[in-house]
């Protein structure tokens, strides 16, 4: 769920008396709930709604926890009435004294993250860890008091949580999106100047543009296609006159509509939590919404590096410059300068809660934190992320494959919504593909192919041939070892609800591969 004033009030109220907050993502499994409630010995649980409340009650019972449990639905029993309480002067004095005793280095929150591995672990963050990031952001973002910001990412994730604290420090007006259904309408009514996003949300907006294109007449399709082509050529540097003319026309005809759909005021957006395809960043920037990508982790509260909005301080395809005050080094760089990213700084976690063995694995004796990400510097100062170290696999021929850049490459096809590259200890690379069904359906209509439903169409010979054509075209740009030799078409998208995506909409590789185990085995049969 996105944040809300209630969540922020609860959050700050806990902080003031030294209570440590432990956010739990609403799509967590029962096992995750049990683990977190038990491990943290929670004394109070608050759920956003009755459905989650029932889940927590069940967990509290299973784990024999003594946690008091409430929810935020004021129309039902169990509502957290404390939100409506008035204090007495006695307690205000006690409160003042308690607040005074809270140190910046005190633990303020434990954030459970499983990332794409699947096993939750609690990241301990202090006030100072997060405050350091807020102060860094105050230097970097072009926000002014009374600007409007729309928040729609989960408050349980450190990116949006840190962003919301930052927005308060900026003095902007923070509006919380309340549902997926009202997402588009909220942009129109709030008319935000800024927001934080994850790549998947921008990809969905881009996919929507492609769907619109498929439903137009020939001339309109060509016009939109041309405008998108111009947009994808947008660069970080100085714009040449000829391109400026094309860009102006493309904005007037097509790209300007994007900004309009987002309320018409938005000029800047920061994207993080997953890899952003450079062409998506370029397209939005060409549309007049400057997109910059950043990089971080829960363990670094979260910022490690971020592109800047100023000319010359951003580069598509990278995650930008290191945040001032953070130390970063590339461990054991290869000939190309790639290696594991290690960080140190005031934003770095104190460690994983009650996981001493894990702490000793990820921290060196000098205090460097092993991020598990592989990266390198481009032009001496822009950090470029290659992939998660553990996701980089070796084929049975001994060749290393970094799946993320390949997935980004194949996702360029308008027919492919998602791609998961497979090949660990296998003789060749294959993929699980989620087709872009709306675009596929429009194509079928054009070709006179009868459309039934995704469940059946993924087995249609002509559909499969069309997807093969897309793969063949994109394969041409790759060395043989990286080319997709076979693929499975998934009849439904991977979702948060199914446990196949993280709260920031990143695919959880192991879970997805487990769900499609039989199909994968057949490809290598």
């Amino acid at each position: 769920m996105a944040g809300s004033p209630a969540w922020m009030i609860i959050d700050f109220a806990c902080q003031q008396v030294g209570l440590i907050t432990v956010p739990i993502h609403s799509n967590s499994t029962s096992a995750d709930f049990d683990l977190i409630i038990t491990e943290t010995e929670s004394s109070l649980c608050i759920a956003a709604d009755r459905s989650i409340y029932d889940t927590i009650l069940a967990s509290v019972e299973r784990t024999k926890s003594t946690a008091r449990t409430y929810h935020l639905d004021s129309t039902h029993e169990g509502y957290f009435e404390a939100l409506k309480e008035k204090e007495s002067s006695n307690e205000l004095e006690k409160l003042a004294s308690l607040k005074e005793s809270i140190s910046p280095d005190d633990l303020v929150t434990i954030l459970y993250t499983s990332g794409s591995s699947g096993t939750p672990k609690g990241v301990m963050l202090s006030h100072n860890n997060i405050a350091f990031n807020i102060k860094a952001v105050l230097m970097l973002l072009p926000l002014e008091p009374h600007y409007r910001v729309l928040s729609f990412l989960p408050f349980s994730h450190i990116l949006e949580r840190m962003a919301c604290y930052s927005y308060l420090a900026f003095g902007v007006s923070l509006y919380f999106n309340s549902s997926k259904e009202s997402f588009a309408e909220d942009f129109k009514t709030v008319r935000p100047h800024f927001c934080t996003s994850v790549p998947r949300v921008l990809e969905k907006m881009y996919d929507f543009m492609l769907e619109q294109m498929m439903n137009r007449n020939f001339i309109q399709r060509k016009t939109i296609g041309w405008a998108l082509h111009v947009g994808k050529q947008y660069g970080s540097g100085k714009i040449r006159f000829v391109y400026f003319v094309k860009l102006t026309l493309a904005r007037w005809l097509v790209l300007g509509l994007w900004r309009k759909k987002l309320g018409g005021k938005i000029r800047h957006m920061v994207v993080g939590a997953a890899s952003l395809r450079p062409e998506i960043g370029k397209l939005f920037s060409a549309a007049g919404i400057q997109i910059i990508e950043g990089y971080g982790m829960t363990e670094t509260a979260p910022l490690i590096a971020v592109n800047r909005f100023e000319p010359g301080l951003n580069m598509f395809g990278t995650v930008g410059l290191i945040v001032p005050g953070v130390d970063l080094k590339i461990d054991s760089p290869s000939e190309t300068g790639e290696g594991e990213i290690m960080v140190k700084g005031p934003n770095l976690t104190q460690g994983y809660f009650k996981r001493q063995e894990l702490n000793s694995e990820v921290f060196t004796s000098e205090g460097w934190f092993k991020t598990g990400d592989v990266g390198m510097f481009v032009k001496g100062r822009f950090l470029k992320i290659t992939d998660r170290k553990k996701d980089i696999f070796k084929t049975s021929a001994g060749k290393y494959i970094a799946p993320q850049p390949l997935q980004n490459h194949f996702n360029k096809s308008p027919f492919i919504q998602r791609c998961l590259i497979i090949g660990f200890q296998k003789p060749f690379v294959t993929a699980l593909l989620v087709p872009h069904f709306e675009i596929l359906q429009a194509w079928c209509l054009q070709e006179g192919i009868h459309w039934t439903s995704p469940q059946f169409m993924v087995y249609n010979i002509k559909v499969r041939a069309r997807m093969q054509q897309e793969i063949d075209t994109l394969n041409e740009a790759l060395p043989n070892i990286e080319r997709i030799k076979d693929f499975v078409l998934c009849h439904q998208d991977w979702t948060l609800e199914s446990g196949e995506l993280t709260p920031t909409l990143k695919p959880i590789r192991l879970r997805i591969m487990d769900h499609y185990k039989a199909e994968i085995e057949k490809m290598y049969g």
Binding site: M1, M8, V17, T21, A47, E91
Partner: protein, 75 residues
């Protein structure tokens, strides 16, 4: 766009941000949520008061420093 804001060291703990905004950029619509299709705003002063009310409730009900509490999201 030029970033002209100067670095600030006026807050060291997260809840200090509330007083920081009240002092520097008091906002009558600091936090806003949709209620029955209309946006309802809360001023920073109102937010601070409600935060203090709830902190006092925690004190009154014996929730002490160092104890953890869980919360979840969900629509």
């Amino acid at each position: 766009m030029q970033v002209t804001r100067k670095p600030s060291d006026n807050f060291t703990r997260l809840f200090d941000v509330l007083a920081y905004q009240l002092a520097k950029y008091p906002n009558e619509k600091a936090l806003n949520e949709s209620v029955n299709g209309l946006w309802k705003g809360y001023s920073i002063q109102e937010i601070i008061e409600r935060v203090n009310h709830l902190s006092c409730w925690f004190i009154r009900n014996g929730f002490k420093c160092g104890k953890n509490y869980s919360r979840t999201g969900g629509r």
